[in-house]
């Protein structure tokens, strides 16, 4: 089957010598919801720039739905909808004009473009602002405008570069459900984000890029299965004696508990253990749990460990440091 995106040996060296991409290989299947993660300056935006032809590559090959960007650039471009990291629309134009013009660049007739603009502006709750200049929108509205704009030519692949940056949680959640719907309709989605919870919730496959190299490329399930230990926090019911909790912590074996404050217990659970054991022990000790949560996002823990592993490997290799903008 043809991949939605196929990247091989992709390199990008900027003027001044900064090597942003060091020969990455990546494939994204059609219909996938794919996360491309990495710390700032890792090469994510450069990779997206090359795919969308905003950045000239130094070497390598990029194919979009089988079309090589070197030989069939216009065809390849027609499949992609881009939601860039920074606002890049005319601040002075009304929303409707921005959307209709954008559709026009893809050969969509004005009457069809107006219908689509209405549909997406309504879906993204921007319809009331259709005649307002873009500069009058709030940050969240501007992000939604860029999503609407990227959909105007009904692309088969949507690339979103940190689409929820600076967006409040309520809006972020409504954007997630909108993106899920798009993916269910068959649109391949590639997402970069700093909210790892977002990637974990939405994406089926993931690549982690660091220092211009892919350090992990697998399914979200397999990646999360790599986690050896998860930390849970228990809020203990008010009125439970501290001495009782201290004694519980002291006596516990197999599972390690820590008393964080008078009402909070923390524990590490490895793959061989399960929460039933924990609740059994708490029940035997007559300790009532009010609520429970993960200490940190699971993907975040893995992400940090992978990036740390990579950077310590880099430090052991004697090489000249390179610094540059991505």
């Amino acid at each position: 089957m043809t991949y939605a995106l196929e990247i091989s040996a992709l390199k990008k060296t900027y003027k001044g010598g900064f090597q942003a991409l060091k020969g990455i290989d990546l494939t994204v299947s059609q219909g996938d919801f794919f996360a491309l993660l990495g710390p700032n300056g890792a090469g994510k935006s450069t990779a997206i720039g090359v795919i969308t032809s905003l950045v000239n590559k130094t070497a390598g090959q990029v194919k979009v739905f089988g079309y090589d960007i070197d030989t069939d650039l216009e065809k390849a471009k027609s499949f992609i909808g881009l939601v860039p990291q920074e606002f890049n629309f005319s601040q002075f134009e009304p929303l409707m004009n921005i959307l209709v013009n954008q559709a026009g660049y893809y050969g969509v007739t004005k009457s069809v473009a107006i219908e689509r603009a209405e549909k997406y502006l309504k879906q993204l709750e921007l319809w009331d602002k259709r005649d307002a200049p873009a500069r009058t929108l709030s940050g969240g509205m501007k992000r939604r405008l860029m999503i609407a704009r990227a959909l105007m030519h009904e692309p088969k692949m949507l690339i979103l570069d940190e689409p929820t940056a600076g967006v409040d949680i309520e809006l972020r959640r409504s954007m997630w459900s909108f993106l899920r719907e798009l993916n269910q309709q068959g649109i391949t989605i590639i997402l970069t984000t700093h909210y790892l919870e977002e990637a974990e919730m939405l994406c089926r496959n993931i690549a982690i890029i660091d220092g211009g190299e892919i350090v992990e490329n697998t399914s979200m399930k397999k990646l999360l299965a790599q986690l050896d230990v998860e930390t849970f926090i228990f809020d203990i019911k008010e009125g439970t004696a501290v001495s009782k909790l201290e004694q519980f912590v002291k006596q516990s074996s197999v599972i390690t508990y820590r008393l964080i404050d008078d009402h909070t217990l923390e524990m590490d659970l490895n793959k061989a253990q399960n929460l039933n054991q924990v609740f059994e022990q708490l029940s035997v000790a007559n300790i009532e749990v009010q609520s429970m949560r993960n200490k940190s996002n699971r993907l975040e823990a893995l992400f940090v460990s992978l990036i740390n592993k990579k950077s310590s490997a880099r430090q052991t290799k004697p090489q000249s440091a390179v610094v540059g903008a991505n």
């Binding site: 000239n56 471009k77 606002f87 002075f92 954008q102 026009g104 050969g107």
Partner: protein, 254 residues
């Protein structure tokens, strides 16, 4: 991919842009030209007498119209394309399957529309001061279309190289304005000493102003064929340069 829709979209966007800010784009040329007529036409012109067999006011009208066309077609594309670079909304076109020639044609077309619309406004203002005669309407139309295309292309190239708003005012201030003033707008180059007549022939605006004046008055300091050959040469050269720059992504892609 339907390139005509993409071209129409860019052109519409460009026309909407200068119409939206009509106070900045369409009104100033009308005021400036009125001042030129009052000062150079009525006050000073009446003491100058005839030039090329016509009263001074009639002589300068074609040059003043052409000056407005040149300035506006150039500055429209220079400021619009540079703003698109600066706000990064040029990326809307770069990520889309729009051929480079469509981008060039769309922006140049927008600049031409503003240049010609301002030319029309200035012509209407001129009618308040002088009776305009027409010698050959087709020469007038051909000259204004080709000249506006030439300077719109120039404005586009300027914007491609520009890194700041200062960069799009340097060329108009230090090159375009002197060339226009020395391009025979206010005088016949036949009045100049022989050496300066030769120097003036290196100024492309001389050919544009004279071809345009021929269309109105039937007089010109240069031959019409030479004038059109020079204008077409500039259009072909500037179009080629603009295409190469955009294809290579100079100032647009990293």
């Amino acid at each position: 991919m339907n390139n005509s829709i993409a071209l129409k979209s860019i052109l519409t966007k460009e026309i909407q842009r200068f119409m939206r800010i009509w106070v900045q784009t369409l009104v100033p040329p009308a005021i400036t030209i009125s001042l030129y007529f009052v000062i150079f036409g009525s006050l000073i012109g009446s003491r100058i007498g005839e030039m090329g067999g016509f009263d001074y006011m009639s002589f300068i009208v074609p040059g003043l119209i052409m000056m407005s066309v040149i300035t506006n077609s150039y500055s429209n594309v220079a400021s619009s394309f540079f703003s698109a670079k600066w706000q990064r909304n040029v990326e809307e076109m770069l990520v889309a399957p729009v051929p480079n020639w469509v981008i060039v044609a769309g922006y140049v077309g927008g600049g031409m529309c503003r240049g010609m619309l301002v030319g029309l406004i200035v012509t209407l203002v001129s009618l308040l001061f002088v009776d305009i005669q027409l010698h050959n309407i087709w020469v007038i139309i051909a000259t204004v279309v080709l000249t506006s295309a030439t300077f719109a292309l120039g404005g586009l190239i300027n914007a491609i190289f520009a890194n700041s708003f200062d960069d799009i005012s340097i060329i108009p201030t230090f090159i375009l304005t002197p060339l226009t003033y020395l391009g025979g707008v206010f005088y016949s180059i036949s009045l100049l000493p022989e050496f300066w007549q030769g120097v003036s022939q290196a100024n492309p605006i001389v050919y544009m102003v004279n071809a345009f004046r021929y269309g109105f008055l039937g007089i010109s300091d240069v031959s019409l064929v030479t004038a059109f050959a020079v204008i077409i040469f500039f259009i072909v050269t500037l179009f080629t340069i603009a295409m190469v720059l955009i294809s290579k992504g100079i100032g647009l892609r990293t």
